[in-house]
């Protein structure tokens, strides 16, 4: 660290101390979701509204369940990052930290529950 110049330490970091990392992750996940969301909408739409046995058989197939698991994982990560921007813009101080922690916990918890459910349906 002592050998780094100030210019080198500041390079790419900015006020958030993480540089362009947040923005880059939003770009990557949004490109992935550009493909996943339309496919998920129409596969999930086909299962929604059907009875228990039909829905169970539908998500026992590898293709719909893979789409569902990927969409849940990527979209909740995208939400976790996106809602962070929302909270940082409008809620400040201690309340902001509480909101941020709650939002992050809800995002990962929902993603975990969703993926576990899909895995159980698929296997």
């Amino acid at each position: 660290m002592a050998y780094l110049t100030d210019r080198k330490r500041a390079s790419g970091m900015g006020a958030a101390h993480t540089g362009t990392d947040h923005h880059w992750k939003m770009i990557v996940t949004s490109v992935a979701l550009l493909v996943l969301i339309p496919v998920f909408v129409f596969t999930f739409g086909a299962a929604l509204g059907s009875d228990y046995e039909t829905a169970l058989a539908y998500y026992a197939r590898p293709w719909p369940s893979a789409i569902a698991a990927l969409t849940i994982a990527v979209s909740f990560y995208h939400f976790r990052k996106g809602v962070q921007t929302l909270i940082e813009d409008y809620v400040h101080g201690f309340a902001g930290k509480v909101c941020l922690i709650a939002a992050i916990c809800i995002s990962y918890a929902a993603a975990a529950i969703g993926i576990l459910a899909v895995v159980r349906l698929a296997l």
């Binding site: 770009i27 949004s30 490109v31 979701l33 550009l34 969301i37 339309p38 909408v41 129409f42 999930f44 739409g45 086909a46 929604l48 509204g49 228990y52 829905a55 169970l56 998500y59 569902a68 849940i72 979209s75 909740f76 939400f79 996106g82 809602v83 929302l86 929902a110 993603a111 529950i113 969703g114 576990l116 459910a117 899909v118 159980r120 349906l121």
Partner: protein, 127 residues
């Protein structure tokens, strides 16, 4: 001494000053739709968890999501998802340094609104 004049500085013009424009309004709605979709996302996770849990849990979750109230949530979320997807695409194009001219932005904005409405109607009919 960064805190010398905190809270008493002149502010740059914000939402209350500017006339609403297509570009600013579509940007604000991108944020609102993106965050509002969490409601549908949590309902869908509930649906999957219930389907994995068994017939009784599924009947409760599926019953709520396909009720008239659930239908309204899912329909509005569908519109929000298509809107957010198209305007997210616009942000990706902007980030690549393309289509930044005002006239092009406004044309794409109007086109994306129309496409989002059409996709929503199409999805509602198909599903």
């Amino acid at each position: 001494m960064a805190d010398v004049n905190r809270g008493n500085r002149p502010l740059s013009p914000h939402l209350t000053i500017y006339r609403p424009q297509l570009t600013s309004m579509t940007s604000i709605f991108t944020r609102i739709t993106g965050n509002a979709v969490i409601v549908a996302a949590l309902l869908i996770v509930w649906w999957f968890a219930a389907l994995a849990a068994g017939p009784d849990a599924f009947a409760t979750a599926n019953g709520f999501i396909t009720s008239w109230f659930g239908d309204i949530i899912m329909f509005l979320s569908m519109a929000a998802i298509w809107y957010h997807l198209l305007f997210g695409l616009r942000h990706l194009i902007w980030d690549s340094g393309r289509m930044l001219a005002v006239d092009k932005s406004e044309t794409f904005g109007m086109a994306a609104i129309i496409v989002a409405v059409m996709l929503t109607i199409f999805t509602a009919i198909v599903i």
